[in-house]
Subunit: 191 residues, 2 copies
Amino acid sequence: MKYPTLYQAFRKHIDLSPKAYLDLENRLIHKTLDKKEFLINEGQVIRYLPFIAKGLMVNYRLDGEGEKHVIQIRWAGLWLGDLYSFFSGAPTKFNIRAYQPTELLMINHETFDYITKKHPVYERFFRLSIQNAYIETLNQIFNLHSSSAEARYLELINNVPALLNDIPHYLIASYLSIKPQSLSRIRKKYK
Amino acid sequence: MKYPTLYQAFRKHIDLSPKAYLDLENRLIHKTLDKKEFLINEGQVIRYLPFIAKGLMVNYRLDGEGEKHVIQIRWAGLWLGDLYSFFSGAPTKFNIRAYQPTELLMINHETFDYITKKHPVYERFFRLSIQNAYIETLNQIFNLHSSSAEARYLELINNVPALLNDIPHYLIASYLSIKPQSLSRIRKKYK
DNA sequence: AGATTCCATTCACCTATGTTAATGGAATAA
DNA sequence: TTATTCCATTAACATAGGTGAATGGAATCT
C-alpha cells in the first residue's frame, strides 16, 4: 500500500477492502506540481479526479475585469478539481494551481469506469463525495451571508493555522472576499 | 401521466421511458402547502426528496443571533430540500417554507430505493442532480465574491422578474445578503 | 369594520471595507 | 551580486451597505 492517506480518505466514508483499494491504487496516475504550477486553466476540460497526497492547491475564477476570486483552498487528504467538467466534458471555468510543491493521485475516466463497475462501493463513495462537497459550499454561502470578514478570518486561521505561512496573504484575502489591505488591517488588530 | 412538468424535469437530464416514469409517478407522495407553511424546520430529519410542481419555496438558515439567511429560493420545476439530511439521516440545519400556495411531489426512501434499483437510469439522474446543485452553489459563491449587491439584484430580477411580486422583499434582500433598507435604496435608483 | 401587526420605504448617521498611493523587505531573475 | 519584481503593510480618503427611527399602506385578525 503506497498511499495510506488515500486509503484513509476512502475509509472515512465507505467500507473498503485492502484488495479493492489496491485494485485502484495500481491504476492511479501520479503527478507532481511545482510551486505555482497550474493543474488546469479556464477553458480546458479536466480529465481526472485528483486527490492531494501532499501540498496545497487553490481554485479560483476570473471575473469580467480579470480579477481572481479564490473559491476553494484545498490541502493534503482532500479531493479537488471540477467534477462538472470531468463528468460532462465541458470546459471548466476554474483555474487550479499549486501554491506549494504538490503531489496528486489522479483517477482518469477509464479507471473511474472500471473501479465503479468492479467495486460498486466506489460508486457510493463518489456520490458521498459530491454530496459533501455540496454541503461544504452551502456552508460557505451561509458564512458569507452571516459572518463579517473579520469573523471569517478568525475562523479560518483557527481551523488551518498553517495557512498564513503556506500561501500568499492576498490569496487568503481573496478567499475571504476582501482586499489584501483589508486583511492587513484585520491582522493588525490581533498582534 | 399526471405531472408532465416532472417528466420534463427528468427528460432534461436522462432518457426516461414513459413506462419507467409512470412506475415512479404512481409512488409519489403528493403534498400541498399553504402560504407561509413550513415543509421542514431546523433539527428535523427530512424523509423526502421534494419536487415543486407548483408554487415557490424558500430555504433559510438561522445564525447565532437568530437572524434568517435565505440560501435558496426555488420555484416550480425544481427540486429542493436537504439531500444531506435525506441520505444521512442527520437533522437538517435548514428551514424550508412555502411562500405561495405550493404543491410538492415527494419521493420517500422506499420509493427511492425501489426506482433506482428497478430503473438504474434514475441513479444517474440523482447523481446529476446533486452535481448540478453543487455547481449552482459554486456559482452563487462566485457571485457573492465578484458582484455588488446592486449587480446581484439586477441579475436576479432579470432572471426571475416575477419574484418581486411572489415573495416579500425582505426575503429577496436576505437572499442578496443585504438589509431590506438597502434593497429599497437600490430599487429607488431604478424607478 | 376597526384594531393590529407586518412590511416597504425614507432619512440621517455610522462603520466596514474599498481605493489609491507610498514604503520597505523578501523573493526572484540577470 | 545587483537589479527587479512581488508582496505585505500603512495611511488618507471614498463609498457601499448597515443601523435605528419614523411613516404610511397593506394584510391579517377579532
